[in-house]
Symmetry: C2
């Protein structure tokens, strides 16, 4: 009996295979944002999406160790960190696996539909401040971030670890956060300290952070070299999952049916509202469709001083009796736009196919 009996390779669901009990166990503990909560600029605590790979750990005697290729290795208490100048950044965070359960065939993992997102105000010490205190060696090429959550995944026992290149790590918005929405970091969001990497999918924002190691060669740990890679149907490795692809989500109009979440709306005029974001470039435009993406109209996108947070959009709308599929798509300034049909990849990452909201006007 060893770990390979417990933890088997990833797999793709059979054609027509419903969500399994394994996937349901993940869906029952992790959760998305209820889409009506897109109404808040900053997501209230408990409504922000949550994905925990292993267990929420208990950290009884916290130290942040900074070691490896540095001139001055550090062992910092939380008070040491709080004594440094603080910064607050509003960040829209999204799980790299958002949309996975809409893929066909479905990669078997956390079965997200479209709701693995949230926006929070994170407060802490800029990462570059701590790296400068330690003094990176000229031979350092990456920083490896180690969290305290421990488990086994696809046969590999591990503490959760991810890396960033030195150039990425030194960006001014990268944060070692000890507060969320002006309150102590909740246990499930990384208490007492997490890395926040604005613009990146959630896997890079290492929670329960205990160690930063300056490495002289690229990190090849599980979460960097095995998981979170783009693998098309051919199976080749097209590289790592990094920044968030553009996405727009509508607040579902009207009221829902309990079981199908189909929306019921009255005929007539209303205003559709939603949020759009991209970690790759600022949002350039949002369009809305009432026929599942056959035709589109422009939405108004509100300006925002928060580069790393979603932006509100609105579009006047008139509902006529009948069934409709509402959707929205975001364009960013890099020229990227959301697809209506999702391209497939083996891990089910960065699936930004446009939302499909079933609406019945009665």
């Amino acid at each position: 009996m060893d770990l390979s009996d417990v933890s088997t390779p990833g797999r793709v669901a059979e054609a027509g295979e419903g969500i399994s009990e394994d996937e349901l166990m993940l869906a029952a503990r992790n959760h998305g944002i209820p889409l009506e909560a897109l109404r808040y600029d900053v997501t209230p605590p408990g409504l922000h999406y949550l994905l925990i790979h292993y267990d929420i750990p208990v950290i009884s005697e916290f130290r942040l160790v900074v070691d490896g290729a540095v001139h001055r290795p550090l062992s910092l208490t939380l008070d040491d960190l709080k004594a440094l100048p603080a910064q607050t950044v509003r960040v829209t965070m999204e799980c790299a696996g958002n949309g996975r359960a809409r893929l066909s065939p479905r990669p078997v993992s956390q079965p997200w539909l479209t709701e693995a997102v949230g926006t929070a105000e994170w407060t802490g010490v800029p990462l570059h401040t701590v790296l400068s205190l330690a003094g990176l060696g000229d031979d350092a090429v990456e920083l490896v971030f180690t969290g305290a959550d421990h488990g086994v995944e696809r046969g590999v026992e591990q503490d959760y670890q991810r890396s960033l290149t030195v150039d990425e790590a030194m960006r001014p918005e990268m944060l070692l956060a000890y507060r969320m929405n002006d309150a102590v970091l909740p246990p499930q969001h990384g208490f007492p300290l997490r890395l926040v990497t604005p613009g990146w999918y959630g896997m890079a924002h290492v929670k329960w952070l205990t160690q930063i190691t300056a490495a002289t060669s690229p990190f090849e740990g599980f979460q960097q070299s095995v998981a979170y890679r783009f693998r098309p149907p051919s199976g080749e490795d097209l590289g790592p999952v990094t920044r968030i692809a553009p996405r727009a989500l509508l607040i579902p109009p009207g009221f829902p049916d309990f079981m199908t979440r189909t929306r019921v709306v009255p005929p007539g005029s209303t205003v559709l509202e939603g949020r759009a974001w991209s970690g790759r470039a600022p949002i350039a435009a949002v369009e809305v469709s009432g026929d599942g993406g056959a035709t589109w109209v422009s939405a108004s996108v509100e300006p925002s001083p928060h580069r790393w947070a979603w932006r509100r959009f609105t579009a006047p709308w008139t509902f006529a009796p009948g069934r409709h599929v509402l959707t929205a798509r975001a364009f960013d300034e890099s020229g990227e736009v959301q697809p209506v049909e999702q391209a497939w990849n083996r891990g089910g990452f960065a699936n930004n196919a446009a939302q499909a909201l079933d609406v019945v006007c009665v």
Copy 2:
């Protein structure tokens, strides 16, 4: 096109039918407690289970209306309520549908496994205080509680409504709560006001409460007379779902496999720990089993001054190499004990079959 096209009758899954996209949409927005969070006496915000029938509503101009068979109809602001003497009650709340997805065949609804529970400190005005201010008429037999969440369910458009008999409503622990864990009620837990009915399953704790109506005949609304009833395979109606059946849940030992949540533990001695509760009578005993319920040993149950909250239990344990199914069962002072095999009912309510934790000792 009418509401019956949108909202169809309840159904039971086919043999072998996996979780459907409808069930997944509910599982993605609602969530249970991550079982390692059973370590906290009071569940931190965001980790408490959550079940929302329709949408989280926005209540812009709040009033609590008390009307019907009362001598003095009331229309109270939140400040009016806060000016009345407050009370705090620690309450373990559990969804009536907890365990539903373990039933065979599976009733198609929110697909809970075992984790739809949480414990919070609720602060507010005792319900009897407000009922006494209004003065119940001699002909009042029930109180009907109306929440602001609006939707359609099994073809019935409704605001969420539940009732209590006058005798139940006048119990000292019943609360109109405006704070949770000493903070403002979060939107998803009923802001600005919810009913808290200690000992009852979650469906009775009406969120976003806006109206209390004293009724002169038993309430026959959807959530009282159609949903939340015990219907055995024969289809007859065995009465309403009311108080929480006894349950014990273990904190999963060791560390998990990401995908299967199977636990990995080292051989040797440890202490198992968990929580047990019953809304029907105080917990009398807890037993733990390492062979799926074939043999049992007694756990120690800690005393607690909080009648309506779970109690911590511990049991010394020795793991030997191999596969084990860990479980626990709670006994309450009424003589009830959790079954190892679940009796079936049509709605999938009050399923308190003992937990089954897969553990591998390597």
